[in-house]
């Protein structure tokens, strides 16, 4: 698979189809891949594709983060299902020039969440890790443990129904068949069943850990405003300190801004240094939007995001009769 990817990228360079390719390379830590930007055929050897490639690379096509990417360049980008959905979103929102983009799809069986691995081995340090089909082996000083991959998959991958990019120019290997046929939200449903007090308590406990580093926002492909509402100071919407109501309103505000646009890649959750399950709120919104408007973000290049469109005669049960 990796070999085919490298060959393909090499070919794209040789045929002058791309000036720059954004992909994943080997990171400096075990279980970690890192985004790489390559601009010549021989560097294709640095590309990798495995279950550690968790970053959503689409984010590097947004205006603020386009450091090496020049607008008139032909850009190749390696994408999983969710990254590909982000590209669809960008196309819908006129953020990319589709003709300048070569989308290289890879079939995704889910990426791992390093934090889950660390929890599994109770905070011990992993010095090396290897992967097989359905399990991984981690090794450190004085221990070697086998972990079932499904136990450490990123939350976003557990109910993922879109393993391949919906739009692509080349695909490496065979597109992966999805395990399920529809989007399901068992996690959201379980949380909805708790009483209101318990839900609030869980939220306060979770979001009290937030240190307001904005890693979630900055790795989010759907968050590309040149100035985020949380950075505006005239008026200042949100206090700068990690006070709980300010923090919650920041997160809720962000959730609402990406409502109908979130592709549930889970990049926010994996980036969070405070280990908050951020996707919980995004998934609630996705579920609501799917049920009400029968819309899923990032699948159809011709469909407007749910909150940018409307139907005249839709259900309005939440409005006083």
């Amino acid at each position: 698979m990796v070999k085919a990817l490298r060959e393909e990228v090499k070919r794209l360079f040789e045929e002058k189809k791309v000036d720059l390719v954004i992909g994943w390379g080997k990171g400096s830590l075990p279980m970690t891949a890192t985004p790489i930007f390559i601009n010549k055929a021989e560097d294709a050897e640095r590309l990798i594709w495995d279950e550690t490639c968790s970053n959503n690379l689409a984010v590097y096509l947004t205006k603020d983060k386009r450091q090496l990417v020049k607008t008139d360049q032909k850009i190749g980008i390696v994408v999983k299902g969710c990254d590909g959905r982000s590209l669809v979103l960008y196309a819908v929102e006129n953020q990319i020039q589709r003709e300048n983009l070569v989308i290289i799809g890879v079939p995704c069986a889910g990426v791992i969440d390093k934090k889950k691995v660390l929890k599994h081995i109770e905070g011990k340090e992993v010095l090396s890790a290897s992967f097989e089909a359905d399990r991984m082996t981690v090794e450190g000083r004085g221990f070697k443990t086998e972990i079932a991959k499904c136990d450490v998959l990123s939350d976003s991958c557990l109910n993922c129904n879109h393993p391949n990019a919906p739009v692509f120019d080349v695909f490496i290997g065979e597109p992966r068949k999805s395990d399920s046929v529809e989007d399901v939200y068992p996690d959201v449903e379980a949380f909805e069943k708790l009483d209101s007090e318990a839900r609030w308590k869980t939220m306060v406990e979770a979001y009290s850990k937030c240190i307001r580093c904005y890693a979630c926002r900055n790795v989010c492909p759907s968050c590309y405003c040149t100035e985020c509402f949380v950075d505006q100071n005239d008026p200042q919407w949100i206090g700068k300190s990690p006070e709980i109501t300010d923090t919650l309103i920041f997160h809720l505000g962000r959730n609402l801004h990406v409502a109908g646009r979130c592709v549930e890649c889970g990049a926010c959750e994996r980036a969070c240094p405070a280990d908050i399950d951020l996707l919980k709120l995004n998934r609630k919104i996705s579920k609501e939007i799917l049920e009400r408007f029968n819309f899923t973000a990032g699948l159809d290049i011709n469909e407007k995001p749910a909150l940018a469109s409307f139907c005249e005669n839709e259900k309005q049960d939440f409005i006083m009769g």
Binding site: Y60, G123, C213, V219, G239
Partner: protein, 345 residues
């Protein structure tokens, strides 16, 4: 050097917590931090390094400087008991000293209290820091790059090593001397204990990777200012502040008033040079508008500017930023790349 048997550790901690606000590593993994403890069971004794550094206690993410109501201003009282920090790693102990240079002392006007931060001083000046030698440095540790070592005695008031059966403690400062004098009923460490320290030290040092000399880097940095390498190393940075907020030496802050009309509080809260808004001027101009410039600023501040003013690196090599970076922007790799670059002078 005195010896606290592990069997007595519980009593030792209990006694400590009576006289001091005792802080020690608590929690696992991403939740680990220095928090106030009352007994030994709460302490995580096997942790390599806490995710949150002791900085969060001395320079909290947010603190109220004072509350105001009309012309009336009230500020918080000094803590009643001095703080005792158990189990600070040498890199973190050093980071507190570095922070003290900025917050507590002032190089330019050392005798002028207006140049000293009273909030910092109220906490730090009376605090006793026990530096616990690192028996097992993590793979992300690089204290050896910036003049540190796992068994360094350069910072802290007390120094301790954990052996199989005991903690061996020796004083490093006057405060430490006084503390040790105040202890009674503990044995002094034997020759055998000292040998085991040497052995542990050797083993710990063997875990570290070969050092890159930070001083060479400092010499090199001015030449790299315009180097296109900065574009390359910063390309993947997403400009969050995870690295700065868990850094034991990042001290930039913002001051804000929160409240309504003439009633409220003035707070000090961490800020970060990775945010575009950090340097944005009222005119709308931003001298550091690009990620390249911001990443360069952070690296330069750690490895060059601080050195030029205070004579040492602001990075202590704790490796926290390496661990939390969501895009694996590894400061060690950046340093190596910069050293290898052949930038024109």
């Amino acid at each position: 050097m005195i010896k606290i048997e592990k069997s007595n550790f519980g009593t030792f901690i209990q006694n400590l917590s009576a006289d001091y606000s005792l802080f020690a590593p608590v929690g696992e993994g991403q939740q680990s931090a220095f928090r106030e403890v009352k007994n030994a069971e709460q302490i995580n004794t096997h942790i390599q390094i806490t995710q949150n550094s002791p900085k969060t206690v001395f320079l909290p993410q947010t603190e109220v400087l004072f509350e105001f109501s009309g012309d009336d201003i009230q500020s918080e009282e000094k803590p009643a008991k001095p703080m005792f920090f158990w189990g600070v790693r040498s890199c973190d102990a050093k980071s507190l000293n570095l922070l003290d240079k900025v917050m507590g002392q002032s190089k330019q006007r050392p005798d002028d209290p207006a140049f000293q931060d009273p909030y910092w001083k109220a906490r730090f000046d009376d605090a006793i820091i026990l530096t616990l030698a690192c028996n097992e440095p993590a793979s992300t540790c690089f204290c050896n790059w910036t003049g540190g070592s796992p068994f360094s005695k350069d910072a802290g008031d007390l120094w301790a090593v954990e052996t199989e059966t005991a903690y061996l403690v020796e004083p490093l400062s006057e405060k430490g001397e006084a503390f040790v004098k105040g202890l009674s009923g503990y044995d002094t460490a034997s020759e055998k204990d000292k040998q085991s320290i040497a052995k542990l030290k050797k083993q710990a040092e063997s875990y570290l990777q070969p050092a890159v000399d930070a001083e060479t880097l400092k010499e090199k940095l001015p030449q790299t200012w315009e180097d296109p390498l900065w574009d390359e190393v910063s390309a993947k940075c997403v400009n969050c502040s995870a690295c700065a907020f868990i850094c034991p030496t990042c001290y930039c802050f913002d001051i804000q008033d929160e409240g309504k009309k003439d009633k409220g509080k003035r707070i000090r809260t961490w800020d970060c040079c990775m945010f575009p808004i950090f340097t944005k001027e009222a005119s709308g101009h931003n001298p550091r508008s690009l990620a390249r410039e911001r990443v360069r600023q952070r690296v330069m501040h750690k490895f060059r500017y601080f050195w030029e003013i205070y004579g040492e690196s602001l990075c202590t090599g704790c490796g926290r930023c390496v661990r939390v970076c969501p895009v694996n922007l590894d400061i060690r790799e950046v340093a190596k790349q910069l050293l290898e670059a052949d930038s024109a002078a």
